[in-house]
Every structure is written in structure tokens, then in C-alpha cells.
Symmetry: none
Subunit: 410 residues, 2 copies
């Protein structure tokens, strides 16, 4: 089973937007055991879209078009697919109603243009999942098929996961499954991890039970992906479990999370298990730690709140610390303990970097102090973070959370 991906939109060709949808779809197809040998980008031009889709269908069994399902005049994927199918467009009253309701629920009037989104090529069916106003389409062309999904990433992903991947696997008559698990690591380089794992990788090359792949993910650390290919779900899970535990023996506490877990979800779980609450004071990270913690459902049970004291007088009036408590080891300690007390939490954490100061002197601006305070006392760790201001901010968040994670393990 071969499936191509066609990303649609003149803005993609002009480089106004980078096409990340195709990469994501390519990865999902590979994991689902579907070959994707070509991917294309084409602009909002009817002849060229039709040519592209025809060319793809001539050499593959399926095509996923991504984009061009919006309400405006340059959204013409529906028309292009209808032409390839040799049919006309039919307006679906049910979809039109649904779109109308979406606008009403937001207290807005639907522009007439949006009704174009209810036009569907004759013989096509719509995809059950519809997170936005654009319905996804399944369009049969003889034995082959065109799937049309919107270019909005979360809408596209919902339709891929909810319908298209399973439909492709069904068409492929594919019995086996491919399953992956991602171990997320922090604190070691990619080449360092590769060295630690080199023996294990040699063993796997011989045994063939699983494959490992590395993926450097910047401020999210380095991911190690385990992939197994087998007949059914239970044996796949057993194989992944076995490989995960082999890797844990080698990598130990470098592994901070698995699959959908994040550094912040792991930290919140650790606090919850110990019945502890958390307060945050952040200068250099300016709200990032709070943002990441509060994004997690149920974090409010553990996370009591945060203070971002940008002005010195705010540090003094709100936290009761000296207004010059900034960019030093002492500042991180004072703020961690002050925020713990003033927000009534069991644990206080704080971060401040040299770049918070007007002048950093000779020390690199990424020099960052991570403060951690509990009833038992207050500690500070100093780290040197690379990159520009924004990267230092991001690195300080994961460094501080990882510092707390390791303390919670102890």
C-alpha cells in the first residue's frame, strides 16, 4: 500500500509557512506500515492541483491532500478532487447546519462563504471527526482513494488518527502492527547516549526484536524511539516493555518521561505522590514555568501559583525579598524560600539568570541559578545554558524542573 501526501497552498511554495504537516503524516504512515514514497507541495491553482493528484494516483494507491478546504475563493481542493473523480459538487445540508451551529455557539454570524465548506464531491463521504468548520473527505477513485484534510494541524491530526490511518490499514489488509515508544532523556548529548547504547544497538541488530532511533529535540532533550513490528498488540507491548526496561538499566535517571509524559507532568506526578504543593518565582523564565505547569489538567491540586517579579520593587513588596535579589545564587535561594512562604506551599522553586542583570560582566549571560526550598532547607544549583535569550529562558525551565524531578526521586 502506497500513499502520497500533497500539501496544498501557494504560501507553502513561497516559504511563508513551512510545511510541517507532511512530515508528521509521513511519520504516522511509516509507523502504520504504509509506504509514502513521494510528497509534494503545490499552489492554489486548479490545473496544477489536478495534475498533481492525477500523477500521484497513477503511481500510488492513495493520496492525502492537506489544505485548501477553507471558505475563501482560493480554497479549491474540493473542486480539484471533484474534477479528478469526474463528478460535480453536492451541498450537504447536514454539514452546512453544523458549520452554522459552530458560528452560533461562538455568538458570531456565519459569512455566506463558509457554506462552500459544505460542498462535497459526489460519491465522497465526510470524515466523522470535524474539529473545525472544514469537513475532511474520503473520495474513492476506482480502487484507489483520495483523502482530503484541512491544513490546520490539529484538525488534520484528529482526522488522521480518528479515521485515515485505520482506513489505510484496512485497505492494505495489513494484519501485523508496528508500535513505538519514546523515552525522553535530559542531561546527556546525542553522541553520548549513542555511545552508552552502542552495545545494545549491536545486539538488537542481530536479534532484530526492536530498532532504536535517536532524535535531538532541543529544549525537550533527546528522544530514544523504540520500534517493534509484530503480529498483535499484546506481543508488541510486551516487546516494548522488555526493551524499555533494558534501556532503563543503561540510561537510568537520564530518562525523565515516556511517550506523552512531559517534564512538567512527571514533576507534578512526583509532587502529588508525596502530597506536596508547589510555588514558583521566575524572573529569567518570565512565566514559562507557570505556563507549562498550568497547561496540565488537574495541576491546580499541586501547583499553588507563581510570581513573576520583573521590577525590583515588586520583589520587595510581593515577595518580601531585597529589590536587588536578581542574577545571583543568593537571589535564587531567597526567592525560592520567599515564594514558598508567601504562597503557602511545601516546595518553592525559583530561577534567575545573569541576563536578568543590566550588565553581566565577564560571565556568560546564560549563567543561571536554580533555587529549591523546602521545610528542610534551601539549595541552589548553578548551570550554564547555551544560546540566545529565548533559548536560555527555555533551557532554564527544563533545567529547573529536572532539578526538582531528581530531588523528588531521592
Amino acid at each position: 500500500m502506497r500513499c502520497e501526501v500533497i500539501a496544498i497552498g501557494t504560501e507553502l511554495l513561497l516559504g511563508q509557512i513551512t510545511d510541517t504537516n507532511s512530515s508528521w503524516i509521513g511519520e504516522q504512515l511509516a509507523l502504520a506500515g504504509i509506504d509514502s514514497l513521494y510528497q509534494m507541495k503545490v499552489g492554489d491553482n486548479p490545473e496544477r492541483m489536478v495534475e498533481c493528484i492525477r500523477h500521484s494516483l497513477s503511481r500510488s494507491d492513495a493520496v492525502i491532500t492537506c489544505g485548501g478546504l477553507g471558505p475563501t475563493q482560493d480554497d479549491i481542493t474540493r473542486e480539484a478532487i471533484a474534477e479528478v473523480m469526474g463528478v460535480g459538487l453536492v451541498r450537504h445540508a447536514e454539514i452546512a447546519d453544523r458549520i452554522q451551529q459552530m458560528f452560533e455557539s461562538r455568538g458570531r454570524v456565519m459569512p455566506q462563504n463558509n457554506l462552500r465548506q459544505a460542498d462535497v464531491p459526489e460519491g465522497a463521504t465526510t470524515i466523522a471527526q470535524q474539529p473545525g468548520t472544514a469537513p475532511g473527505l474520503i473520495c474513492p477513485v476506482g480502487e484507489k482513494v483520495i483523502y482530503a484534510v484541512p491544513g490546520v494541524p490539529n484538525e488534520m491530526r484528529t482526522m488522521m488518527n480518528g479515521t485515515i490511518l485505520a482506513d489505510l490499514q484496512r485497505r492494505a489488509g495489513f494484519g501485523g502492527i508496528i508500535k513505538s515508544r519514546v523515552l525522553k532523556t535530559w542531561g546527556h548529548s546525542e553522541s553520548g547516549l549513542a555511545e552508552l547504547l552502542s552495545e545494545r544497538i549491536e545486539t538488537l541488530d542481530t536479534e532484530g526484536s526492536a530498532t532504536l532511533a535517536f532524535q535531538a529535540s532541543g529544549i525537550e532533550g533527546i528522544k530514544v524511539r523504540i520500534t517493534v513490528k509484530t503480529q498483535d498488540e499484546p506481543s508488541a507491548i510486551a516487546m516494548l516493555d522488555a526493551e524499555e526496561s533494558a534501556l532503563r538499566q543503561i540510561l537510568g535517571h537520564y530518562i525523565f518521561a515516556v511517550d506523552d509524559q512531559t517534564m512538567e507532568s512527571v514533576v507534578l506526578d512526583g509532587l502529588r505522590r508525596k502530597g506536596l504543593t508547589l510555588a514558583v518565582a521566575e524572573i529569567s523564565s518570565g512565566g514559562l514555568i507557570s505556563t507549562r505547569l498550568s497547561a496540565i489538567d488537574g495541576s491546580g491540586e499541586v501547583f499553588r501559583g507563581a510570581i513573576v517579579p520583573v521590577a525590583g520593587s515588586v520583589r520587595e513588596s510581593v515577595l518580601g525579598v531585597p529589590h536587588d535579589a536578581i542574577g545571583t545564587e543568593e537571589a535564587a535561594a531567597t526567592m525560592a524560600s520567599a515564594v514558598r512562604e508567601s504562597l503557602g506551599a511545601d516546595v518553592g522553586i525559583a530561577t534567575t539568570s545573569l541576563f536578568d542583570l543590566p550588565v553581566t560582566g565577564e560571565r556568560p549571560p546564560g549563567t543561571t541559578f536554580l533555587g529549591l526550598s523546602t521545610a528542610a532547607g534551601t539549595e541552589v544549583e548553578q548551570v550554564r545554558l547555551p544560546g540566545d535569550r529565548e533559548r536560555i529562558r527555555q533551557y532554564s525551565v527544563i533545567s529547573l524542573l529536572n532539578y526538582l524531578r531528581l530531588k523528588l526521586l531521592a
Copy 2:
């Protein structure tokens, strides 16, 4: 002059790497006045690479292949191009020497594999710039041309800027330039904007002085891109200025920013102009407003800090507001005025959503209250935001900042 881009590498199809080279090349081609109507990704497979290049050459004047010029066995772009040209490969002694010297200057021994990089299709010339070990190639095919560049971004860019763009323009006999400007809007739907601008677009279609394109960017609003094609930079800027002012007359305050400006940079500029400082209390957005404001260099002059009072007792102890001040109009007002006072700012803003409450009752969880407090008094706006929790958070940030922006204009 039409030029296609073919990104080469199985890892691109599998989504292990996102192809950003094509976007960059596409943008440079557009700015250089060269049409790029198709872009493709293909794996390290000789037949498919040859098929792709032939197909592209059949409909365009030039092709840029990107990747597959490395020293390993799966780097086969040289061979594929030679096949399309109907010639063999010739080893260039001069290039072989240069590669050898590169290794020596780094104190390393050259693996024999690297000599493959000195193999050039007969009749092709090499590109003068060669930042790495892979030479770039200019390969004539009749009147048409294939350019081969490495996939390493800085090597590719050096060759594009140093040779290829100028070579394409020379072939096209083209003297002019293309320039764009992006107007960012908030508060109206894409189809609504299209309706407002439909007359203007018709005029432009006739006059041909500029083109407009819409781009929905989710929580960043909807962008309207003006593009002009003319002989020189000053006349391009004059045309963009004229079109921007025509659009401002139609769209008015929907336009919040231009090009690199963001909602937060515009708000900070507005406060700075009026000599006002800002304090933020955010429950639903959990630190996002603070994160975005603090990301901007120099924001500390205006932005005094933020409080994220997740726990009710934190609202009481830190802000001095009732602990049940959450998820209501009154809560937004109380917090805005309290954070203004306790952080000693001229303006206090606050946001809280229904989803901050344990039970939202019959009202949709996206119902959000935006509070704004100054010495003159406190106001609240209620908005209904769509989507899941994370989207509501994101929308509440831009809604609150836009609310403040409009007040600053008044």
C-alpha cells in the same frame, strides 16, 4: 522562468527531519522573481529520483535538487542526475584535492568514501562556493538546467546566494524584484475579511499593482499579505505603502501589527508611548501573558510583573482579593485592580475563564472575562472563546492584549 525544488532523503519522507530547505528556497525564488510551482520530496532511491527529476524538467525550466551529495552509499544524487543527462560520472582531480585538504586542515584522515564527492556528471560544472566537502553542481540538460546543492542548510544557502539565484535571473533575463508586507488582523473571520476586501481585490485584479493573500494563523489572527512586483526597491516600498494605507482605510483597527510586530510588541509600544506601566493577574492563561510580554527585549521598562494565583488562598494572601474571586466578571475586575495596586503599576489587566471553576454549569467553559483597571476606573469585557482548554488559554491572551491595545488607541 519556472524552477522546481526536489528535496532528497528518505528521512524527510519518514518525518525524522522536517524539510525546511524547500521553504527557504521557495521564498528566495519568489523574491528573485522566479516562479516555483511545485516542490517535491523523494527518498534515496535511484529510479524514483530519476523519475522525479525528469517529471520536473518536463514542465519547468530548472530544477534544484537538495540533498544526497554526501559521501555515503545512499547519497546518489550525482548518479541520478548523470542518468537524466544521459552521461557518465567523471572524477575531478581538483575537487578531490580540495576535499583531501579540508580533512587535513582539520587534522583528520579522509575516508576513501569521500572521493565519491569528486565525481561529477560529464558536462556539468561545479559551483564556486563550497563551504563543506560536497561540491554543488550546475548540470545542463538541453536548454534547461539542474542545480544540485547539499542538504546542509548553510552550505545550500551559500550556493543559492552565491551562484544559483543570479544564474536563474540571468537565464530569465529578469531585472525586477518582488516584495511583500504582512498586515496582521484580529477580531474578524477570514471569510469576513475577504468580504470586506472583495471590492479592493477586484480593483487590484484589474490594475495588477499588487496582490492580496489571506492566511489564517489561529491564535495569531488572520494575516493579509500584500505582494508587489516591480523594477526596484524604492518603487516596491512606495507601492506597498500605498496599498497598506488603502487596506487600513477598509480594515481599520482590525489591523494590529505589521510584519515582525506582534500583539505584545504593539501593546508594549503603546504603553511606552503613553509612559504607562503594566501588571498582570492571570488565572486561566496561567502565565502565558507574562511569558509573551517578558520574551520581548526591553519589556522590563514597562512590564512590572505578573501573578498567577492558582489557589484561592493565594488570591487572598498575595492580591488581597476574596479567595472565590474566579470565573466571574467581578473576579476579573477585582483582580485587575488589585494587581495594579499591589505591583504598583499604572494599568492592571486580568483574565479568568469559566473553566477555572470546578463546575461551569450550562455556560460554555470558554466564557472568559477580561479585566482592565487604570486610575480612571475598572472595566470588564466578556468574550466567548472556542476550542479546548489550551486554545481557550491562548485565545484569552490575545483577546486581553487586544482589549488593552484598543483602549490605548482611544
